[in-house]
């Protein structure tokens, strides 16, 4: 048998087909999903099948000019992420090659050449480590031994990796260290082990936690249609399907910018290169609303564009989620944005096709559902391993927001239909809405969320009631708005036949209020400085004002007023002004609008008294 310098066996390529290679000579020792390297070219791959006399591996790079009998070695570990300070503000490809570093290290080469070997995280950069634990402390797995201020926005907790526990026999004093410098030692009954800041974790294995908890807090997105009607919870999952041109990417980017997650992992999966360029510039320029620092300081970008190798695309969403879990373990609320999971599913299909597997629907492999569920099930609110220095328990959450790109906008296609089974919320983007420039084009009839029950307590604690609407808490608001919108939709069909004027006044009022909700509340501009983000109080006041108008309107109709009397009220203009003209922190001026509205209605009543009398004369 042939052995390489480090003693591991050498195998040989015995067939090549696209990104797949067949290797002989490694089949007896290698573990499935281990990484291999084609020595001469520096190309890496992953073993995906093992047979009696050969193994099959998928290469993460172009296989052009490989030969039969090229030498291959087992790297003896599955594809893993490096986890340590230096992840934030960084941009990686699907297998964690550092794209910025590659660009600067290789003469500003703008093409991604093959076989580039650079460690994902810098081995030279020094980080300022502040110890929390002292020598002699008892350490459990997951305990925070010290911290590093990774970016001005995020403090990186240096945690004892899963499996490490015992007596802290050594820890460095506060100072600057690289991620591979020795930081601490843990002595267990069996051995004493040395640790640095760097952990490696295989992307296809969930990082462990103590227990999972049912989500109970909303992830506030600043998008009104979501926060009111189809909310997402911290630790939850949502799919965002939509045909091309429906604004999927704009929604994903709005969430990255405005949602109240601490850390964002943005995965550009098989999408356009220019989009990544756009995201990168925007995240650098836009500042975090709370701290005024660039948003990029709390973001990790994974970019595997459509023209980069498909096997790395397949890995990329799991890479993203693994990094997400790591920050979750520190006690942060993390959101993983994957744009788009359809491109990921297509990479599965391509590889499955090369393997000549029996396809299920539309060429997708039969294991598409199990792979997808493994991805979405990594979301959750958990009690992490280890104790916190402050509280006894540390909580962290991982939220997954996956966009889906159904061919010709058909939601019955396999990826959309399968995804629906594993997510708790569904924001259906609608081409007709986008066409009429209604953004965000989230269809209020076909979207849904299962989270309201989970999170209504949270909203009730925050809310403060209006005396005029004493029973209207957040949940009742959303129930009523959903009701109005669905009645409006039913009425629309009748309206087309008999004309709006021939409907009873109460139904005309519903049509009017429905239109007001759609045009002043649901439509939201991602490009307006105020409108791009709506905080929760402004949202509640805005919708309550509309609901109050609806109730007052019903009263007026009872008194014999007509819907046109209501549509002529000055207050309608005020309502339209709320989203773009009232600064977000001045939401209390909506109370002035309310006062004005009530006065206007009062004077209307005074002027005409009981309007029914007019008809007597």
């Amino acid at each position: 048998m042939n052995n390489s310098e480090n003693g591991s066996k050498i195998g040989f390529i015995s067939a090549i087909n696209g990104s797949l290679i067949k290797i002989e000579g490694l089949e007896n020792d290698i573990q499935i999903h281990n990484m291999i390297e084609i020595i001469e070219h520096g190309i890496h791959g992953e073993v995906i099948q093992i047979y009696k006399d050969h193994v099959i591996a998928q290469c993460f790079e172009n296989t052009e000019l490989l030969k039969l009998k090229d030498k291959v070695i087992d790297l003896k570990e599955p594809i893993s992420m490096e986890l340590a300070p230096g992840l934030l503000s960084n941009i990686f490809d699907g297998i964690q090659r550092p794209l910025e570093k590659i660009h600067s290290n290789f003469n500003n080469s703008y093409f991604l050449e093959r076989g580039i070997k650079i460690a994902p995280l810098s081995r030279d950069k020094k980080w300022h480590f502040v110890p929390i634990k002292e020598k002699g402390d008892i350490i459990e797995e997951g305990d925070i031994v010290g911290t590093v201020q990774e970016t001005p926005l995020i403090k990186h907790m240096i945690m004892a990796p899963p499996g490490a526990s015992g007596n802290l026999s050594f820890i460095v004093a506060e100072g600057d260290f690289t991620i591979i410098d020795e930081i601490y030692r843990i002595k267990s009954s069996r051995e004493e082990k040395t640790y640095n800041m760097l952990q490696k974790w295989p992307i296809n294995t969930n990082r462990p936690y103590k227990k999972r908890i049912r989500p109970r807090e909303p992830l506030i997105t600043g998008l009104r249609v979501i926060d009111l009607l189809f909310p997402l919870a911290k630790g939850g999952t949502v799919a965002v399907p939509g045909g091309f041109g429906t604004g999927k990417t704009v929604i994903q980017q709005s969430l990255a910018k405005w949602s109240d997650a601490d850390v964002i992992i943005y995965c550009g999966v098989g999408e356009r290169g220019n989009e990544i360029a756009d995201v990168l510039t925007q995240f650098k320029e836009i500042t975090d609303p709370k701290s005024g620092r660039p948003l990029l300081e709390r973001i990790v970008i994974i970019a595997n564009t459509s023209n980069m190798p498909v096997s790395a695309r397949e890995a990329s969403i799991f890479s993203g989620v693994t990094i997400g879990e790591y920050y979750r373990d520190m006690g942060y609320d993390v959101a993983v944005l994957a744009d788009s999971t359809s491109r990921w599913a297509e990479s599965l299909r391509e590889i499955s096709g090369l393997l000549e597997e029996m396809p299920a629907e539309e060429g997708y492999p039969a294991y598409l559902p199990s792979k997808l569920s493994r991805f979405y099930e990594r979301a959750g609110l958990v009690t992490t391993l280890g104790k916190s220095s402050l509280k006894n328990e540390r909580m962290g959450s991982l939220t997954i927001i996956g966009s889906v790109s159904p061919p010709s906008g058909d939601f019955s296609e396999p990826v959309t239909a399968t995804t629906k089974r594993f997510v708790q919320a569904f924001w259906a983007l609608d081409a007709a809405l986008a066409y009429s420039k209604h953004y965000p084009a989230i269809n209020w009839l076909s979207s849904y969320s299962n989270y309201p029950d989970y999170i209504s307590d949270w909203w009730n604690e925050k809310d403060y009631k209006w005396e005029e609407l004493s029973d209207m808490d957040w949940n009742n608001c959303r129930i009523l708005v959903n009701e109005i919108l669905s009645i409006e939709n039913e009425l629309k069909n009748i309206t087309q036949l008999i004309g709006k004027e021939n409907l009873p006044e109460e139904q005309q009022l519903i049509l009017f209020i429905g239109g007001l909700i759609r045009n002043s509340f649901l439509i939201q501009s991602a490009f307006d400085n105020i409108d791009c983000f709506t905080p929760i109080f402004k949202l509640l006041f805005h919708i309550k004002l509309i609901i109050l108008l609806y109730y007052e309107g019903k009263e007026l109709l009872k008194l014999g007023f007509l819907v046109e009397d209501i549509t002529r009220l000055n207050t309608i203009n005020d309502i339209f002004k709320i989203s773009k003209s009232i600064p977000n922190e001045e939401y209390e001026s909506i109370l002035k609008f309310k006062k004005k509205m009530l006065e206007e209605i009062k004077s209307l009543k005074m002027m005409f008294g009981d309007r029914r009398e007019r008809f007597i004369y």
Binding site: I16, L99, H103, I276, E350
Partner: protein, 466 residues
């Protein structure tokens, strides 16, 4: 001379465009193969599969005339490369980058000095190295420049159908397009499976325009081998990359017709006995399209850019057909042609409401076009959309039932189609002219209707242009 690394004389199997050889040598995956037949013909191919038994080669030209033992198969040890040089300007080439006479289709024996040799498959651009596109190209066509501005570094396809004037439009774009900053500009025209008549039409038009010297053409005729359709866009884009990123030029690449390309891909896939996904197209249609369309853009620190206009004809005008649908997901917008407008005699017949240019919002305005551009384009789209709604209303209530505002909209709709959209085939309008026409059309409407335009622009331009 062909560099010989390995030579075979025996073919085991021939299936469609694929030939199978017994594997006896260590040849390289993806290497270029030259096949010489007894009667002196030369064909090209590429290794697409290797295992211990067989080497599978995809032949780019026809396999017609090959038998199991009438040819020599020469392995070059190199990937498919083409020669690129400044001598190419103004000339026409075939799929292999050889200069041809388009009348006889013969390869010309002219000496083109090679500046560089490049692998046609290229490498993906590092997303980090990209610069977000933000500068314009003027096509001289109002509807494009005004409403769907073409941005340097953008890929903006034209979705057309059989019998619609996409060839005319293409030729007008090729002859009129320019960058306004005075930098050098190059057009690469790549015809994929186009018929002889169209080829002559295009090249005549290029000749007439007097801009022939800034156009490089690559032509794969409709009766040329199907497999050549798969390499010709790569040859064209490799050429584009050289001039854009190494010679600082702004390159506009036109690919027509991408539908022919996709069909060739389907044919090869079926010869390879792959599992099809939608309508028989292979599951990797998206990645394959991306490997072409993503070869556009701007690079940090480089002056040049590559912009692409792929033209594709939608079978049965069906925008949800896999070809149009897949392309639409990758490109940055689309320009859709409309059969009804075409029948009405409007040229170019754009289906305005279905078209979009995704990159224009950051590029238009005072710096590159004119201060009022963004407001004007958004107002034109909004008002035209209302005008079309009113038009539907007429069929129910009749023209008499319209109120004055609706009547004004109908009038606006007509002048929008006749003056703004409609344009002569040789009429080259600059941004200034386009926007002035836009104001002329908008001035049909009462000024208080123009809610999407800032007041200062209304004061400055409204009524001025009438």
């Amino acid at each position: 001379m062909i560099d010989v690394s390995v030579l075979y004389t025996k073919i085991e199997q021939i299936i469609g465009p694929l030939i199978f050889l017994k594997n006896q040598h260590d040849i390289k995956y993806g290497e270029r193969v030259v096949i010489q037949t007894e009667n002196g013909q030369t064909r090209n191919g590429e290794v697409i599969k290797i295992n211990q038994e067989f080497i599978v080669i995809e032949v780019f030209e026809d396999t017609l005339g090959l038998s199991s033992n009438n040819s020599e198969i020469i392995f070059t040890g190199e990937p498919f490369k083409i020669d690129i040089s400044k001598d190419m300007f103004g000339k026409t080439f075939n799929s292999f980058g050889q200069p041809i006479d388009i009348k006889t289709k013969e390869i010309l024996d002219i000496n083109i000095i090679t500046d560089v040799e490049r692998n046609i498959n290229g490498s993906p651009i590092n997303p980090f190295a990209r610069e977000y596109p933000s500068d314009v190209i003027q096509t001289g066509i109002s509807v494009i420049d005004g409403l769907f501005t073409l941005i340097r570094g953008q890929k903006l396809p034209v979705f057309s159908g059989q019998g619609m004037p996409h060839n005319k439009l293409t030729s007008q774009i090729v002859t009129q397009s320019k960058v306004l900053t005075g930098e050098s500009f190059l057009i690469i025209f790549c015809g994929i499976g186009i018929i002889q008549d169209d080829v002559s039409y295009f090249l005549d038009q290029f000749e007439k325009s007097g801009n022939r010297e800034r156009i490089i053409s690559f032509i794969n005729f409709a009766d040329d081998s199907i497999m050549e359709r798969l390499i010709i866009p790569r040859v064209a884009l490799t050429t584009a990359e050289y001039f854009a990123f190494e010679k600082d030029m702004h390159v506009l690449v036109i690919l027509t017709d991408v539908t022919n390309y996709a069909e060739a891909l389907r044919e090869l896939s079926s010869a390879k006995e792959e599992i099809p996904s939608r309508k028989g197209y292979p599951g990797y249609l998206y990645s394959d399209f991306a490997s072409l369309f993503e070869r556009t853009g701007k690079i940090r620190g480089k002056k040049g850019s590559i912009t692409q206009i792929p033209i594709l004809t939608m079978p049965n005008d069906d925008i949800s057909h896999p070809i149009a649908d897949t392309a639409g997901y990758i490109t940055e917008g689309q320009l859709v042609l409309d059969r009804n407008l075409h029948k009405k005699g409007i040229y170019p017949p754009f289906e305005v409401l279905a078209s979009i240019s995704r990159l224009m919002k950051d590029a238009i305005g005072k710096k590159n076009t004119r201060e009022d551009h963004s407001d004007v384009s958004s107002q034109l789209l909004a008002s035209y959309s209302s005008a079309l709604e009113v038009k539907d209303l007429i069929s129910i209530i009749g023209e008499e039932g319209l109120n004055p505002e609706q009547k004004a909209l109908i009038k606006f709709g007509k002048s929008f189609e006749n003056m703004f959209l409609n344009q002569g085939f040789t009429e080259d309008r600059d941004f200034e002219q386009t926007l002035n026409i836009a104001w002329k059309v908008l001035s049909v409407l009462p000024s208080d209707h123009l809610i999407r335009i800032h007041e200062n622009f209304i004061n400055k331009y409204y009524g001025e242009m009438v």
